[in-house]
Amino acid sequence: MYWINTIVQGALVGGLYALFATGLSLMFGVMRIINLAHGDFIVLSAYLAVVVMDLIGVNPLVALAVVAPAMFGIGYLLQRGLLNFTLGDDILRPLLVTFGLSVVIENVLLEVFSADSRRLQLPWLETSSIQLGDRLAIGLMPATVFVVAVVVIGAIEFLLRWTALGRAFRATADDTDTARLYGVNNRNIYALATAIALAVVSIAGVLFGIRTIFDPTIGPARLLYAFEVVIIGGLGSLWGTLAGGIILGVAQALGAAFDPSWDTLAGHLVFLAVLLFRPQGLIPKTFDL
């Protein structure tokens, strides 16, 4: 029972990791940009939630209703005003620019909010749990995070598969010039992809901030998790991303059950094993390449 409990808790955490990874996967899928500032945007949205909560005194989930559209807007403007100019044959340019962005965001957050750890308080959600059988209980918070991850990923899959905008995303990823021939404004499509990616990031960031403490410097570690999840799951497959998140979460939980200092290490080992034995990821791509 102890092991089942560990695996279930790990899988639920995996939902959060999948949310971390979804935006990264979307931006890479549509534009071939690896956004090195991805983790810092997670932290930025958690701090934006802090600001909104302080200003209008609401709980974190209500704050998200303000933060998500704000991050959507930031993503759109970021892509239109900056990242679109880095696209081209040289893949180093977006890497360098987003790396710089990562440093800038982290230091601005340090300047404004100091290095103190913060947390988004939502006591009833954190402490409630659902009893499943005698010795298995799952927290309401991890369960909520997992359900949100499934819903968000399902929504984005629906968008990509069944809407005109989704077709335009896939067509642009396939062949930008030909997509433009049929009326796709690629600069706008890119901006919308980043906007959606950062809106998802904001959901991940706020849920993360409710779950655990954060400070301005923890972004790069979240980027690493997100990156591992994308690779484990398979580039360009969002359901694969969910599976990758679950695998990383379970690996970390099992590692931690074995020895508390092993949780991150166990995750990295699984990631390395996937790179070695199945570099294309678990589930092959669905919408690009």
Binding site: T178, N185, T286
Partner: protein
Amino acid sequence: MSLLLAHDLVAGYADFQALFGVDVTIEEGETVAIIGANGAGKTTLLRTICGLLRSRRPTDIRFGGTPIGALEPEQIIELGIAMVPEGRRPFPSLNVADNLRMGAYCGRKGPWTLQRVFSLFPDLAEKHSAMPPTLSGGQQQMLAIGRALMANPKLLLCDELSLGLAPIIIRDIYGAMPGIRAEGTTILIIEQDIQRALRASDRVYCMQKGRMTLQGRPVELTRDEIKLAYFGV
């Protein structure tokens, strides 16, 4: 007023000029073919018309009187110029029906719908949920033409329709042209197969080294004239 008017058109790539003062006039409802050897500038001309390449001056090309030389491809299709690109270029991760729907992305209204395209090319109807890489070359060409028709263009640009296809398939593809013309669509075809071009068109241009060397109705042109314009010997 001519539908398309290119006058003294100069265009090319970053470090390489491909068109040296090209003149082309296309009237509404015509089917015009451009023939010429490899490297004559035919594809460059089409890429410039549809906006993938810029002409030197915006007014080098006019469509229905409007200068389009400075417009982006996504603006030009909204005016009603659709391209069947060289190499067909289907979107590999979209199935046949979704590829066709991408053609309608610009939102132009007209006679061409998914159903009409499927009845023009029954092969595509059968394969509507297939992925493009699994189609034959001829089916991919039908897909490329169908996708362009979905934009309900006034002017359809076709780049090398017969390239790499078996003669019997080429006949099928060209067999669809009368149905497209019947909707009043003006067609500009680029073709290396001279006989095919002469039979399919109302008027023929011949290009050589980035210039127009000959122009006329197929019945009025002699073999020797064409040979001279084509090869320059």
